[in-house]
């Protein structure tokens, strides 16, 4: 018999608000999508709760502006959350809310425990540094200054994401969009994080490059048994990779379930509309 699994990440009532809010929106009066008509406050993420388990891919889908990327950026401390809590199993054994961590501890979490790949490589890479230096920067940030180790690890990671190591001295600005995403992925993996955050990693890539990136994510998952949160507005990508999926609309989770159930038996009106819009 199998014992109950322990989540690697638990998020509870995550709240991200732009503006102070007013009585009207705090008391959950109807809003214009996620914006309060009276005070203009935007509720980017409203009371989102979820768990991520070891080795699983959790998909987050929804239209632009639904709050998917805001969840990711909140988890990676790019946005200061308004409320809620998140517990990482690898950080203080999951007993301490990471949103309450000091800036020094946050750096530790970002450099050791989590990796992030942004939709826009400009946010995740230094375009004028060499690709190897981009990866090495992450290793240095984690406190390792052993040059031989950095060199070996950089080669290993760039090979894993199928970037020619003979091009590792080149800066990412010389690379195509797909290659830049792969350098970002290798950078995110530099310190063996337990959790990888992938924000629209295949958006804007042509089909063949997209297939390559999807294949890479699948391989990384089985090779490193890493947990992944995958944000995408592309249901085909979610279908291929995610074990479970959450559907977001106007900053809230409207439905969650096994990915094939979400796609074949959607319950919420918005999810039905989304699935029926699939080409």
């Amino acid at each position: 018999m199998i014992n109950k699994e322990e989540a690697v990440l638990q998020v509870r009532d995550l709240l991200l608000r732009y503006g102070n809010g007013c009585e009207c929106c705090r008391s959950r009066q109807p809003m214009e999508k996620n914006r309060c008509p009276r005070c203009g406050t935007v509720w980017a993420v409203r009371n989102v709760s979820f768990d991520v388990y070891p080795g699983e891919v959790l998909g987050i889908v929804g239209e632009s502006g639904s709050g998917k990327s805001s969840v990711m950026k909140s988890l990676y401390f790019d946005h200061e959350v308004t409320g809620g809590s998140a517990f990482l199993k690898q950080y203080q054994d999951g007993k301490v809310n990471v949103f309450g961590a000091s800036s020094q501890q946050r750096r530790y979490i970002k450099n050791h425990l989590m990796g992030m790949v942004y939709q826009n490589p400009l946010l995740g890479l230094r375009m004028d540094y060499s690709s190897a230096a981009n990866v090495a920067e992450k290793i240095i940030a984690a406190g390792n200054r052993n040059v031989a180790f950095m060199d070996g690890r950089t080669v290993e990671l760039l090979e894993a994401v199928e970037i020619l190591t003979s091009r590792r001295a080149e800066p990412p600005r010389n690379f195509s969009g797909g290659m830049q995403q792969r350098v970002q992925i290798s950078k995110a993996l530099a310190n063996n994080p337990g959790l990888l955050l992938l924000d629209e990693v295949t958006t804007g890539l042509d089909l063949s490059v997209q297939a390559k990136v999807l294949d890479l994510i699948r391989k990384i998952r089985s090779r490193y048994n890493i947990s992944i949160i995958l944000v995408s507005h592309d249901l085909a990508v979610i279908r291929m990779l995610a074990d479970r999926t959450m559907v977001m609309l106007d900053g809230q989770v409207v439905e969650s379930g096994l990915t094939d159930q979400i796609l074949e038996d959607p319950q919420h009106a918005y999810t039905q509309q989304l699935v029926h819009s699939l080409l």
């Binding site: 018999m1 199998i2 479970r244 159930q261 074949e264 319950q267 039905q272």
Partner: protein, 230 residues
């Protein structure tokens, strides 16, 4: 030993854009024993696939219980099991063979079969050995193993689906119209394979269009009409 006991299984679909409920299967009940093969026949739209998809939890049942005697958790109601439990059962114990092939882009037939083992932590070398064994068992020609299966014929796709589902030796196999759109020669091959699986004590539940064809393989056959067993 009872592997599966279904009682009062009912499934409807509510379509928000039409404000309408579509009834699928209703008040379905039966039991499946170890090594038994139950066939369900009926016209298109009778609700046959809904039963299988409710067991696999691709559909959320509206009512009823689906008690599966699992190795991992003991008896468990699949209608209520949590998502992680379902994923665990799908990975290790329940195999679902769909009519259609669903493979990752740029994945060869062999890699597709291997993926079922890699995701449960089997080492790559061992996964490859077992995948080859399974492709051979399902009589998929060796020259097809390293090809992307999008170009396969219906029969080849089906055998690949079977190999992918069977490589992890599931205790319960759900077969969704495994003989649909196959020519007679391939149907005979599939029938042979199912007979063989049955002899190896795999419990199976299958949906078929042509009952005569499956005669002699199924232990029990339910005829389905308008959402319930006739």
């Amino acid at each position: 030993m009872e592997i599966l006991a279904i009682e009062g299984l009912t499934k409807n679909f509510y379509l928000h854009n039409l404000g309408k409920t579509i009834k699928s299967c209703r008040d379905i009940g039966f039991t499946l024993h170890e090594g038994e093969f139950i066939g369900i026949v009926g016209r298109s739209g009778a609700g046959k696939s809904s039963i299988l998809k409710c067991i696999n939890r691709t559909y959320l049942p509206l009512q009823g219980t689906i008690v599966y005697n699992s190795q991992a958790f003991g008896p468990i109601d699949l209608a209520q099991a949590d998502e992680r439990q379902m994923l665990q059962l799908r990975r290790y114990e329940i195999g679902y063979v769909a009519q259609f092939l669903n493979v990752m882009p740029r994945t060869t037939a062999k890699e597709h079969v291997m993926s079922a083992l890699l995701e449960i932590g089997v080492a790559a070398g061992e996964a490859e050995r077992r995948a080859k064994e399974m492709l051979d068992y399902f009589r998929l020609q060796e020259e097809l193993w390293d090809i992307y299966p999008q170009t396969f014929s219906g029969g080849e796709r089906l055998r690949l689906n079977l190999a992918h589902a069977m490589v992890k030796r599931p205790r319960l196999m759900l077969l969704d119209e495994p003989t649909a759109s196959l020519d007679n020669k391939t149907k005979v091959l599939v029938k042979d394979i199912l007979q063989q699986l049955k002899e190896e004590k795999t419990s199976m539940l299958g949906i078929f269009h042509d009952l005569e064809f499956m005669e002699g393989v199924c232990d029990k056959v339910f005829n389905m009409s308008e959402g319930s067993f006739a």
